[in-house]
């Protein structure tokens, strides 16, 4: 018998159960070496993680090579005090819960670099709340001076304001499209008002047509 029959029966029962029962959702911890899932309709971890890595690394690399941001005071010792105001999303996509993560990732990388010394976000938000300035108001020199004075009163003086901006550009080819994501880190010297920029870019193709899907079949 009957082994073949038994196996066939077991297989049939198993497939019946699989079709007839609700399965519990499962999850697993991804190893750091496993690639991130790729968002099919919008950017996700696969885009934002390397963007942050590249943009912050570029900024840090310049400083570690002795290239200082504009307005750097010669003779200054110790890490530069940075007031990281926030991440502004000017891309075509909602980034939802990624926004907070982008902020924290950039902030953590800056802390770890020991090239900069960021101010706690709690103080930054308290300063904005007290002055009622919008982040973009801080580009006006008088506002920047007032904000800087408020932060000093809180015992949190800083040398540079840091703004992160996420932008995107979309190129369409019939149903398919390519979207270029750029993360720009902009540092503004509070004394001179001069700014310095670093950015990173990732391009991603979204396949809607059958031809495009076939062309990009297989692991990436």
């Amino acid at each position: 018998m009957h082994r073949r029959q038994f196996l066939g029966g077991a297989l049939l029962a198993a497939s019946g159960l699989a079709a007839g029962c609700r399965g519990r959702q499962t999850a697993q911890i991804k190893s750091p070496y496993e690639p991130d899932m790729v968002g099919s309709h919008a950017a996700g971890a696969e885009t934002y993680k390397p963007l942050v890595d590249a943009a912050v690394s570029n900024l840090l690399a310049r400083h570690s090579q002795g290239i200082h941001p504009a307005g750097f005071a010669e003779g200054q010792t110790g890490p530069l005090r940075i007031c990281f105001v926030g991440v502004e999303n000017r891309s075509a996509e909602e980034i939802g819960d990624f926004k907070e993560q982008l902020y924290q990732q950039i902030d953590t990388r800056i802390v770890q670099s020991q090239v900069y010394q960021p101010i706690s976000r709690r103080f930054v938000e308290a300063g904005l709340r007290q002055t009622r300035y919008r982040p973009d108001d801080l580009f006006i020199p008088e506002n920047m001076r007032n904000f800087s004075a408020v932060m000093e009163q809180m015992g949190q003086p800083f040398d540079y304001l840091l703004f992160a901006t996420l932008t995107s550009g979309t190129t369409r080819s019939n149903k398919d499209y390519q979207r270029d994501y750029v993360l720009t880190l902009e540092m503004v010297d509070v004394r001179s008002g001069r700014s310095d920029k670093e950015s990173a870019e990732i391009s991603k193709g979204y396949n809607v047509s059958v031809m495009a899907k076939l062309k990009h079949l297989g692991p990436k």
Binding site: R22, Q25, L128, R129
Partner: protein, 445 residues
């Protein structure tokens, strides 16, 4: 024929009470403001029944929220959200059982508007005891409705859910929370732009967008109060007889009985389907007073009644198709039985089998399970007020002015921060108490 009709009546009378019957008592107590009695009825049914436990829990969450227990409400809502997510998967065994009985045999996974509103009420509940997860819940509202709409059909099918009206409350809450950070005006602007897009009749939407793009959260020394009002008695499901389909099926089975080898049990019992019912509400809105002075009227950010009707209409053909298919399966089963047994058309056995078929069909009940204590509308008013103590008064309004008396609560406004107020006015009187965020830290008068 008279005997047949009598049997059908008996069978229908013997059929189980529907959820709509059980809900009636809960709604009655709730709208009369007897929250303890409403909760006792819900608990009683929860002990006895399993098939509509989740919707009963949703009603219990609404009772807890109105009674000033937002933490309990949030816990229950979270439990039901997870249960509905699990039950979304199709179950072939239940599907087969439902074909032989009725849709009440299926585990209830919630209507689409209910799944979205669970997230919205999770956000609201969280704001009144902790606030730490409100932003996540607000994001889930949008994610959930996108997921529902995207899953409405396969690639080659027409998607009936594309016509769904979107729930703007999640986007509104998200924008309000992001604006409060004073650092994320871009998120606030996007959120309010969505509100304008999805709820174009919301009168404050454009002003909110303008403020997020060019203005600020509040002037120095001021804070913001969001007054949310749950207004009117909301939608629920009732059992209705789908007569055109019943008549069509009766004609079809008569034709078949005359032309086929065996007769088919006549469609005497009407095909029963659930319909979303919307109540007439005298109350139209809530006028808000600050320290005794009129400050404005709350405006509708989500019309729950309209949303439920519109979404249900979009999927109604599927509900009806399932009911008709069930009848066909039942008739087919008896027909096959007659074929196998070789039953003659004019024999007593044939008459008995036809009567049994009619009885089987007559025992069907429409699946009226639903979240029965939803409001008809969710309204909101944003007020910028000087920091400090204020008294917020709420008075229900109808078509021709005030309806009931004013109810009030003390609110502490913090400089540069949001404070939230929630009140439940299903009729012209407040049910439960007015909830104020942060009130747990400060004693309520």
């Amino acid at each position: 024929m008279i005997r047949t009709a009598g049997l059908v009546l008996v069978a229908t009378a013997l059929g189980c009470a529907t959820h709509a019957d059980r809900l009636a008592e809960v709604r009655e107590f709730f709208y009369a403001g007897h929250l303890d009695a409403a909760r006792a009825v819900v608990d009683k049914h929860l002990q006895r029944r399993d098939t509509d436990a989740d919707v009963l829990k949703l009603d219990r969450a609404m009772i807890d929220l109105a009674a000033g227990r937002p933490q309990d409400a949030e816990r229950t809502l979270r439990e039901v959200r997870d249960a509905f997510d699990h039950l979304e998967q199709a179950c072939a065994v239940e599907g087969a059982a439902a074909m032989l009985t009725d849709d009440n045999r299926r585990a209830y996974a919630g209507e689409d508007y209910e799944k979205i509103l669970i997230r919205a009420f999770l956000a609201l509940s969280n704001l009144f005891h902790d606030g730490g997860d409100a932003l996540a819940y607000a994001l889930q509202v949008n994610d959930c409705q996108e997921r529902i709409i995207q899953s409405g059909a396969g690639p080659e099918e027409e998607n009936p859910k594309l016509s769904y009206k979107r729930v703007a409350l999640g986007a509104y809450l998200y924008a309000a929370l992001r604006e409060e950070t004073h650092a994320n005006y871009d998120d606030a602007a996007r959120g309010w732009a969505r509100v304008v897009d999805w709820e174009p009749d919301f009168p404050f939407g454009r002003h909110d967008v303008q403020r997020a793009v060019y203005g600020r959260h509040s002037q120095p020394g001021n804070g913001v109060v969001y007054v949310f009002a749950l207004v009117g008695r909301g939608p629920y499901k009732i059992e209705t007889a789908e007569l055109p389909s019943t008549v069509s099926l009766l004609i079809a089975d008569r034709i078949l009985s005359h032309t086929a080898r065996h007769t088919v049990a006549p469609t005497v019992a009407p095909i029963k389907v659930p319909k979303v019912a919307v109540m007439h509400n005298e109350i139209r809105g809530v006028q808000v007073f600050v320290d005794g002075h009129a400050a404005g009227s709350a405006a509708t950010i989500t019309d729950v009644g309209q949303l439920a009707v519109q979404q249900y209409e979009a999927i109604y053909p599927q509900v009806l198709a399932r009911a008709v298919a069930r009848r066909a399966v039942k008739k087919g089963a008896f027909y096959a039985g007659k074929e196998v047994l070789g039953v003659a058309n004019h024999s007593l056995v044939n008459v008995g089998m036809d009567l049994a078929g009619i009885l089987w069909e007559a025992t069907e009940s429409a699946d009226t399970r639903c979240w029965g204590l939803l409001p008809d509308r969710i309204q909101v008013l944003r007020l910028e007020l000087p920091a400090g103590q204020h008294r917020i008064g709420l008075r229900p309004t109808g078509h021709s002015g005030w309806l009931g008396r004013e109810e009030s609560a003390a609110v502490t406004v913090e400089d540069g921060r949001n404070t939230y107020v929630l009140a439940n006015f299903p009729t012209d009187r407040l049910v439960g108490r007015i909830l104020v965020s942060g009130a747990a830290r400060e004693p309520q008068p």
